[in-house]
């Protein structure tokens, strides 16, 4: 088909000229042409970022649940404001979905943020249930070292299992193990009162660190080289 206005031959299936958009006169003698590009559908012109993502649906449901919790908590005039804990847990779920489940970040970064988020929820619980919890320093004395130990052990075991397939986890275990010394540092600066849990945490992390360095030295060096090349 030719466009008499542009003086060009149109080489794809269409009824209008690609340049001037004037109607083309069909030529019966010409063989049938096919479209040059995949047919556009309503879906292809739809915004790429749809608002109905799993995280957005979760966020909407969480907001509703939180509003209900506030209404119940304040409506019934309960002395303990547990609705804030509900809000924090729902927010934790949202952040876990966004930054842990659906994120491409390294395992140690995900684990680090999990530790931070859980600690924040526990701190909020400490504030809300102030009258029930008499020991005010349990969060740093006990909870923080335990959370770090669980994280390091979990990541260490996973990296032992999949070390052949995923060497990147060794690097993650190494970095997470270093976080294990944080409670001991907090003890040194006086923020932690009881040394026992912090010392166990540091000891465990040191053991994991030594195991990684001894048993997977080559893999670890290779991984460090690629991650830290500059």
């Amino acid at each position: 088909m030719r466009c008499k206005f542009c003086n060009v031959e149109v080489d794809c299936e269409t009824r209008i000229c690609p340049l001037c958009h004037e109607k083309l006169v069909p030529d019966e003698t010409q063989e049938k042409l096919s479209p040059a590009f995949p047919q556009r559908t309503a879906k292809s012109k739809r915004p790429l970022r749809t608002h109905f993502t799993p995280t957005n649906i979760y966020l909407a449901l969480s907001c509703i649940l939180f509003v209900v919790a506030i209404a119940v908590n304040f409506g019934m005039q309960q002395p303990t404001k547990w609705c804030w804990i509900v809000g924090a847990v729902l927010m934790y779920g949202f952040l876990t979905m966004r930054n842990t489940v659906m994120s491409n970040h390294s395992a140690w970064i995900k684990a680090f943020w999990q530790i931070v988020m859980i600690c924040l929820i526990l701190w909020l619980a400490q504030v809300v249930f102030d009258d029930i919890m008499t020991d005010t320093n349990w969060l740093l004395d006990l909870a923080l070292p335990i959370i770090i130990m669980v994280s390091v052990l979990t990541l260490g075991i996973i990296s032992c299992i999949v070390v052949r397939k995923n060497k990147a986890l060794l690097y993650d275990t190494l970095f997470l193990s270093l976080i294990g010394f944080v409670p001991l540092i907090l003890y040194a600066v006086g923020l932690v009162k009881s040394v026992l849990a912090s010392a166990i945490c540091a000891g465990l992390c040191a053991a994991v660190l030594i195991c990684v360095v001894i048993f997977a030295r080559k893999e670890l060096i290779a991984e460090m080289e690629r991650r830290l090349h500059w």
Partner: protein, 438 residues
């Protein structure tokens, strides 16, 4: 090579910037499309892709984040052939391309090959596609021969194919001797118009007989690149600047230069720099004067000593200690902020003239033509490319704006010269309803 044994690769010098500049919708992609004479057999193409990718280790990778730089890690999986998406040059993500930095798709008789520029440039991609076509045609049972023009699957992999040729051609210089100013652009006219929604892009391909075009260029005493560049600049002036009676504006084309023609290299990775061709648009501008300006700019910018200086400058920037020590997230932040404030209005359009793709003669009965399309974005709403395969040259326009005035005027120039022009389009600018009614 320690990187080889550890199955990872550093990004080459020019590739380093591409992942940092990518945003939620835009990515530096280019798409080579091949129109065959028959419909594509998707299953066979899938088999051909799985076989061919083994020959190209530098493409069989996934992009990873390091602490200081991005890097490529060997991809253990198999790439997939997809159905072509109506949205051309759609962003390549780990979810839509299985972690690979390229995407092979097909639609009827067309094979589309989208590549993230961090992976390779047009030359490397063309070599891969030639090999893919060779394997595909062989599986189809066609009597094809590589004719020493194709890296066939059985041929040995030269380690130099995945070297960073910028580093091998780098000559250490003092900071005072570097030509930093040559890399800076100056303010130029930016094509404006109504933008498409989201990542939509309009494409118009002009197919012209290569011999006729070369004859036209000879008559004017210029090269194909110079002729297309000049006609494009004239089209921009006539359709955009002149009707609005704007004060004198600089039209600047951003033209990639293939360094393999100047520095010996067989690398499959990026090895190109760019030239900025600028002219102040006015009524006195003629085709001849524009050809002369482009000729002068290209002659200056393709001199070996000038390019060597540019290589030294870009490699120096990479090796600069504060730059190396800076963590990746800070580098990305700085690049994005600087691009936001200083990156705009530095070019009117990108014009990539790939030249002739040297396909074997035995492919001729099965390949109709080829073309190249490169990403257009808000900073550069129109891009133009020229690629020749056999007797047909494909001039491609990709744009993020609705109006097709530049393409229309450009085509008018060609037809006025007596060229026989064939046109195809994806009609992105036409409303869905209008497209149905018509």
């Amino acid at each position: 090579m320690s990187e080889k044994s550890a199955k990872w690769l550093r990004l080459d010098n020019s590739a380093k910037i591409f992942p940092m500049m990518a945003d939620k919708q835009n990515q530096n992609l280019f798409d080579i499309f091949i129109r065959l004479t028959e419909d594509v057999d998707k299953d066979l193409l899938q088999r051909a892709l799985e076989i061919t990718i083994k020959r190209f280790p530098s493409l069989n990778v996934m992009l990873k984040k390091g602490v200081f730089w991005f890097y490529f890690e060997e991809h253990g999986g198999k790439p997939k052939v997809y159905d072509a998406d109506p949205v051309i040059l759609k962003k390549i993500t780990s979810s839509n391309c299985g972690g690979f930095c390229f995407r092979i798709s097909c639609y009827r008789n067309v094979i589309f090959a989208d590549f993230f520029h961090a992976l390779t440039d047009g030359t490397g991609a063309a070599e891969f596609l030639k090999s893919l076509l060779f394997t595909y045609f062989t599986l189809k049972g066609y009597p094809v021969d590589g004719e020493q023009k194709v890296m066939t699957v059985g041929s040995p992999v030269n380690p130099r194919e995945y070297e960073d040729s910028f580093l091998t051609n780098y000559k250490k210089k003092k900071i005072g001797d570097l030509t930093i100013s040559s890399l800076k652009g100056k303010k130029s006219y930016r094509i404006s118009g109504i933008r498409f929604d989201n990542a939509g892009k309009g494409v118009i391909n002009l197919y012209v007989p290569a011999k006729d075009f070369v004859t036209l260029c000879r008559e004017h005493g210029c090269t194909v690149t110079e002729m297309i560049g000049a006609l494009f600049m004239l089209s921009v002036y006539e359709t955009k600047i002149k009707p609005q009676s704007l004060p004198p504006q600089d039209i600047q084309l951003f033209v990639p230069i293939n360094l393999r023609k100047i520095f010996p290299s067989v690398t499959m990775r990026n090895f190109s720099l760019f030239s900025r061709i600028g002219v102040t648009a006015s009524d006195e501008m003629t085709l001849e004067s524009l050809i002369a300006t482009i000729h002068e700019s290209l002659a200056r910018d393709t001199r070996k000593d000038v390019l060597s200086d540019k290589i030294s400058t870009t490699v120096y920037a990479e090796k600069f200690l504060p730059m190396r020590m800076m963590p990746l997230f800070m580098k990305r932040l700085i690049f994005r902020i600087s691009n936001l404030f200083f990156g705009k209005n530095k070019k009117t359009a990108t014009f990539s003239s790939v030249g002739v793709i040297n396909l074997p003669d035995s492919f001729r009965p099965y390949v109709k033509d080829m073309g190249l399309s490169i990403t257009a974005n808000n900073a550069c709403p129109v891009t133009i490319t020229a690629l020749t395969a056999y007797d047909t040259m494909c001039i491609n326009f990709t744009r993020t704006i609705t109006d097709t005035e530049i393409e229309k005027r450009f085509t008018r120039y060609l037809t006025d010269f007596g060229m026989k022009v064939k046109v195809t389009s994806n009609f992105w600018e036409v409303d869905d309803d209008a497209l149905q009614i018509l």
